[in-house]
């Protein structure tokens, strides 16, 4: 067993702590945060009101996910402290969304200043690029290849919704597309979680 074999074992052990569907649940929450404000704003609410209405839903779901992790998943999988190298990788992952947001703000400012660029990119590019960058960084730092696919799906949802809006002329087409994808991810998370519960039982000491 050489170092590469041990790295593979470490990667598998690390990935086993995400088999209960958390990645899919977080992706779903991310999409809900995009889709719900869009739905509310098209139902007559203002932009700020829509964002404020969607926020508690996402927060409740996030709290639910963390509670499930603490009281259901960890007692079944056990507690582990990973090696410093892995912990460094995970902490680097936290920096990427922050840098992406800063870069997005700078790019947004440049587009806002330049009227000719505003209509071409400003509306759509952040919704495509930010998920792809964040998910790709997560895939790289967490060593989970399926996150590249999730990033591509999440990045494509917005332009797909915009395209469908031109085909099916309805003001709710875009939020419906995003929310449909969010529910697909939620369904996947539920399937993974049920499978996890059937496979792992809380050990009797």
């Amino acid at each position: 067993m050489d170092t590469s074999d041990q790295n593979e074992i470490e990667r598998r052990v690390f990935a086993s702590f995400f088999q209960a569907g958390f990645i899919e649940a977080f992706t779903s929450i991310f999409l809900l945060q995009l889709g719900l404000p869009a739905l509310f704003s098209r139902s007559g609410f203002g932009d700020l009101e829509s964002a404020l209405l969607a926020l508690p839903i996402a927060l409740l779901l996030l709290i639910g996910v963390f509670l499930i992790r603490k009281f259901v998943v960890i007692p079944r999988l056990g507690k582990v402290r990973f090696l410093p190298e892995r912990r460094r990788k995970v902490s680097k992952l936290m920096i990427v969304p922050l840098l992406t947001l800063i870069a997005g703000a700078i790019v947004g400012y440049i587009f806002a200043e330049n009227a000719s660029l505003r209509h071409i990119f400003a509306a759509q590019m952040p919704f495509i690029l930010i998920p792809i960058i964040v998910f790709s960084a997560a895939a790289y730092f967490l060593d989970m290849r399926r996150l590249y696919v999730y990033g591509a799906i999440v990045g494509l949802v917005f332009p797909l919704g915009k395209y469908l809006e031109t085909v099916i002329v309805s003001r709710n087409t875009l939020p419906a597309t995003i929310l449909f994808t969010a529910f697909v991810f939620l369904g996947m998370a539920t399937v993974f979680f049920v499978y996890f519960l059937r496979r792992y039982h809380e050990p009797e000491v």
Partner: protein
């Protein structure tokens, strides 16, 4: 030339006899492998990853602890017993030594010949 080949085969066989048997057992090897890829982990983690039963895990952990290969900390968390396990420096060295030795043996290009096997048996009898 032939003698040199025979000597090499005999040496490789005697190397097998020198392998650390405490690490060589499948259950203990699995425990050490899964502890080597983390800083520390609890008994439930090892139970899940290795697929051992509580009794088997406990017996093998005790043997590794007695040899000074792993460190066991028993505590109570939320009024429940919690056992934390960690590979010691000695355990890590033993595990790495075992890995290197096995790799050397398995990487040997020359398969063990019937003649070599006979010579090693004769040497052991002597």
């Amino acid at each position: 030339m032939k003698n040199q080949g025979e000597k090499q085969t005999t040496d490789s066989l005697s190397e097998i006899m020198n392998i650390d048997r405490l690490v060589h057992s499948p259950a203990r090897l699995a425990i050490l492998t899964y502890l080597s890829v983390v800083e520390d982990g609890d008994a439930v983690y090892l139970l899940n990853q290795t697929g051992l039963t509580w009794g088997n895990l406990s017996a093998n952990v005790t043997r590794l602890q007695e040899a000074g290969y792993i460190e066991v900390v028993k505590e109570f968390k939320d009024r429940k017993p919690h056992t934390l396990l960690k590979l010691t420096d000695r355990g890590r060295k033993a595990f790495q030594g075992y890995q290197n030795k096995m790799k050397e043996l398995l990487d040997m290009k020359k398969p063990i010949s019937r003649e070599g096997w006979r010579i090693s048996r004769l040497n052991r009898i002597k």
